[in-house]
């Protein structure tokens, strides 16, 4: 599995499509949105994390994209605060499983693992 992280609008999706030869079925876009939706639906971090890990299990062809969301002032809103913390932790777990991790900066993929 390949994980592509980075700030918003850095070209993660485009790079994912390139790696996947245009095959969208191989890509899970915007994993951070799923994490936030899960938390807002009242699900626990562990449940969301386990679901994602089982979804990627044994699927080496998969490519995941996710925003890095933790590089700001701690939000005053408790739900937002939890979202960014949990997103960070789950991305750590996904990066641990990934064969390759890229960090996109201004459309430039920086390989940080693999």
């Amino acid at each position: 599995m390949v994980l592509i992280i980075g700030g918003a609008y850095q070209g993660k999706g485009e790079f994912a499509l390139k790696l996947a030869d245009g095959d969208e079925d191989r890509i899970l876009f915007n994993v951070h949105d799923r994490i936030e939706a899960g938390l807002r639906a009242g699900r626990a971090r562990e449940e969301i994390e386990a679901e994602l890990l089982s979804e990627i299990s044994g699927r080496e062809e998969l490519i995941l994209t996710a925003d890095e969301v933790g590089c700001g002032i701690v939000p005053a809103d408790a739900v937002l605060r939890e979202c960014r913390e949990v997103t960070g932790r789950i991305l750590c777990a996904l990066a641990g499983e990934a064969g390759e991790v890229y960090r996109m900066v201004a459309g430039i993929p920086v390989k940080i693992k693999g």
Binding site: L3, I73, V86, G88, C92, A95, I112, K113
Partner: protein, 192 residues
């Protein structure tokens, strides 16, 4: 030796910093000091501190609390040896130093500017003081600069302060690491 570890919230920087210090030490427990800078505000703050304590358990750290006035901190010496020190987190220390007295005019630009200067000086003097006492020092700081939001004057001052402290730490550090998704990126020196 000074090592600075930075990273986003939830990036795994604390765990990395602790394990790095253990790896560099190669010592038995009892010669490692954790300088905790966070004031335990409310239930969430206490939960956060508990999580960090659990992470450190079994790693042989003695915890010393220091929420401000780092330069007055005298570290305990054990068996006549200089300790290995982990300071966490610079983002808390900077806030505690900048906003150190309640009821002060933090909305006034001139007051804020002076408070920022004073806090920066105090913090860097504190780091020097720790370096005099420690065999090696690992400072954990925080990447809080990239959310694209403009804040009120007092929060902007805080960002300016922490940014300046981080830059100075980077100049002073032998090794500067950013942790991204638990992956260490060595931006200066290393890899360790």
């Amino acid at each position: 030796m000074l090592i600075t570890v930075t990273g986003a919230s939830g990036s795994g920087k604390s765990e990395f910093a602790e394990d790095l210090l253990l790896r560099l030490d190669g010592d038995g427990p009892g010669n490692r000091i954790y300088v905790a800078t966070m004031e335990p505000f409310g239930e969430e703050g206490e939960r956060r501190i508990r999580r960090h304590r659990d992470l450190r358990r079994g790693k042989g750290f003695e915890t010393v609390e220091c929420c401000r006035d780092l330069k007055d901190l005298t570290l305990p010496v054990q068996r006549g040896r200089r300790p290995s020190v982990l300071l966490e987190c610079m983002s808390n220390l900077a806030a505690n130093e900048l906003y150190r007295e309640e009821g002060r005019p933090f909305e006034k630009e001139e007051f804020l500017r002076k408070a920022e200067e004073r806090a920066g000086r105090e913090i860097l003097a504190g780091i020097e003081r720790l370096l005099e006492q420690a065999e090696r020092l690992v400072v954990v700081t925080n990447e809080v600069f990239s959310d694209g939001i403009s804040y009120d004057a007092s929060t902007e001052r805080y960002l300016a302060l922490l940014g300046a402290v981080n830059r100075e730490l980077a100049v002073r550090s032998d090794v500067f690491v950013e942790v991204v998704c638990s992956i260490p990126l060595y931006l200066k020196g290393g890899p360790l």
